[in-house]
Symmetry: C2
Subunit: 328 residues, 2 copies
């Protein structure tokens, strides 16, 4: 089979590609060809027993989506997006990439030759939800009232995905990713960055800043779980989804205090002591609008699975990023 990964140079995209290369198959079918696309050229995996094409470009440029679907990929993973903070800072860029390019991709598929109906896996986000929230966990029928332009663009993507699927132009599945934790790499300036930072930096011998109260609760899954969601979404039977094509992915609802306790259990007191509390009113205000917990019943019924404890989320980071060992 032929697979197209859009946003293949991003953190989750890279891990998805690694996984597909390792498996060599998707849903029991042998992978024969893969195209990796991003705004910067993704690194081609080495020693791969099938053809890998790497391409860089702007998905919102006329003709780009058409070129990418010209060889009729069976499965398209659409992870390409301007992240939340940037889409908020740059209004036009956010709409151009997150809305226009997504729609252009869907249109390119629609205009392809008759009978081409690929599987399209679209990464949405819990940013489609916005406060005020109910006291109980947010269920599968709760409305999407995003509080950012990014969340708005993802919610629109979900609506288009459903309409194009209903029309039979492709077979779409949208997955609303939890906050991905522990993100590997250097600290970034995203308002949510500290959720990963307070685990990652201490494990790497560095100090981390905690800008919110440790009573703050949020919804997490590991990068490994995110990749598993994508693979699973690409292989489930979509008929039972009906017209409701997007699903809130399972995750783990924990407080910051519970994150820190898990870090202490997994890595010891000395590591957990590397967290410095420095309340930041701006971050605190932003985080107040974020969802805290979901009841992802529908996704669970479809077989999606996430971590059951934050200890496991930390262990995934140690295994996948630190070679299984906590540095002294």
């Amino acid at each position: 089979m032929n697979i197209l990964v859009l946003g293949a140079a991003g953190m989750v995209g890279r891990k998805l590609v690694e996984r597909l290369v390792r498996d060599g198959t998707l849903g029991g079918r042998r992978i024969e060809r893969m195209t990796l696309f991003d705004v910067v050229a993704p690194v081609a995996p080495e020693g791969v027993p099938f053809q890998v094409r790497v391409a860089a470009g702007d998905l919102s440029q006329p003709g780009q989506p058409e070129r990418l679907v010209a060889d009729r990929p069976d499965t398209i993973f659409h992870l390409a997006a301007i992240v939340s903070g940037e889409a908020e800072a740059e209004f036009e860029k956010g709409y151009r990439i997150n809305l226009d390019a997504t729609r252009a991709l869907f249109e390119a598929i629609r205009h392809s030759n008759h009978g081409y109906t690929p599987k399209v896996v679209f990464t949405s986000s819990i940013a489609v939800f916005g406060a005020p929230f109910p006291d109980e966990p947010i269920g599968d029928t709760f409305h999407r009232t995003p509080l950012t332009s990014y969340g708005t663009q993802k919610a629109i993507g979900e609506l288009l995905l459903a309409d194009y699927s209903r029309r039979g132009f492709f077979d779409g599945v949208g997955i609303r990713l939890p906050t991905i934790c522990v993100r590997p790499g250097r600290p970034n300036k995203a308002a949510s960055g500290f959720f990963s930072g307070i685990i990652r930096e201490p494990l790497n011998g560095q100090e981390a800043v905690l800008p919110v109260a440790d009573t703050v609760r949020h919804w997490h899954a590991s990068p490994r779980a995110a990749v598993e969601f994508l693979i699973h979404a690409a292989t489930i039977d979509t008929a039972p989804l009906g017209q409701r094509r997007s699903l809130t992915m399972p995750g783990l609802s924990v407080t910051v205090a519970e994150q820190i306790e898990a870090l202490r259990r997994v890595a010891g007191d000395a590591v957990a002591a590397r967290i410095r509390r420095e309340p930041d009113p701006t971050v605190m205000r932003i985080v107040e609008g974020w969802p805290q917990r979901f009841s992802a019943k529908r996704a669970e019924e479809f077989g999606f699975r996430a971590e059951q404890s934050f200890d496991d989320i930390i262990r995934v980071y140690i295994e996948d990023e630190l070679g299984g060992r906590v540095p002294a």
Copy 2:
């Protein structure tokens, strides 16, 4: 004040203009100028003590929205849309008018001179909802899962309206209209047409066809109530809306049997006998996906009001369309 009405030649648009002309004011401010726009030139009202400009055109054409907002209307009523059946039959036309033109209008406002933040009243629809529904009435936090391209386009319009309002580009209010009943005029081919037809045709001495079982339940409001919703939406204080800018309008949930009973009470047995039952499996299947009743609590808290009985809905038709008298 200066008012722009988009979709002014449509049934609700015409009635809105009549009402504004009669009032001469909106929210206590004297109307000084009005622009009526539609794809066919709206009829200019006569003897009006203020300036009325009439224009015909395609809102999706480049430059058209910019021309319409150039004189900085204080309030914009955006009723222009391709109706449900047509948007389903003509995929591209529906997206072009219902999505692209709406977005182009919003963009034209955003690109206007600094400090121009008009009130924008956007007509959405209960078509943003799609089955399966809960057993209880659909509440204000139920998700939007449209089952038509029209409903998809309206749901996207709601999301854009909220994001542009949040950004401060304008001050938007979206109102999800119930099915409007009794629609005046000739029978049309809309799947929902019979809800009005079984009242209108008998009152006009003609036979009406009922294509569904009389147990079918649906959500109605009169054209007069729809105009009142629009006026009210244009004048409410939007601060308490927060970021949730679209509201399900109140309406009346009745079965077809209850509609017919009301007709009998208001107009007599002979009139009610003009309904012929001729089940149509296609219409029956379409209607199954439609919502049956809402709990429009939030709109009611904001002071929106609809009819309390179907007898009243019939009387509105008789008063407004038949000069207050039922033809023999």
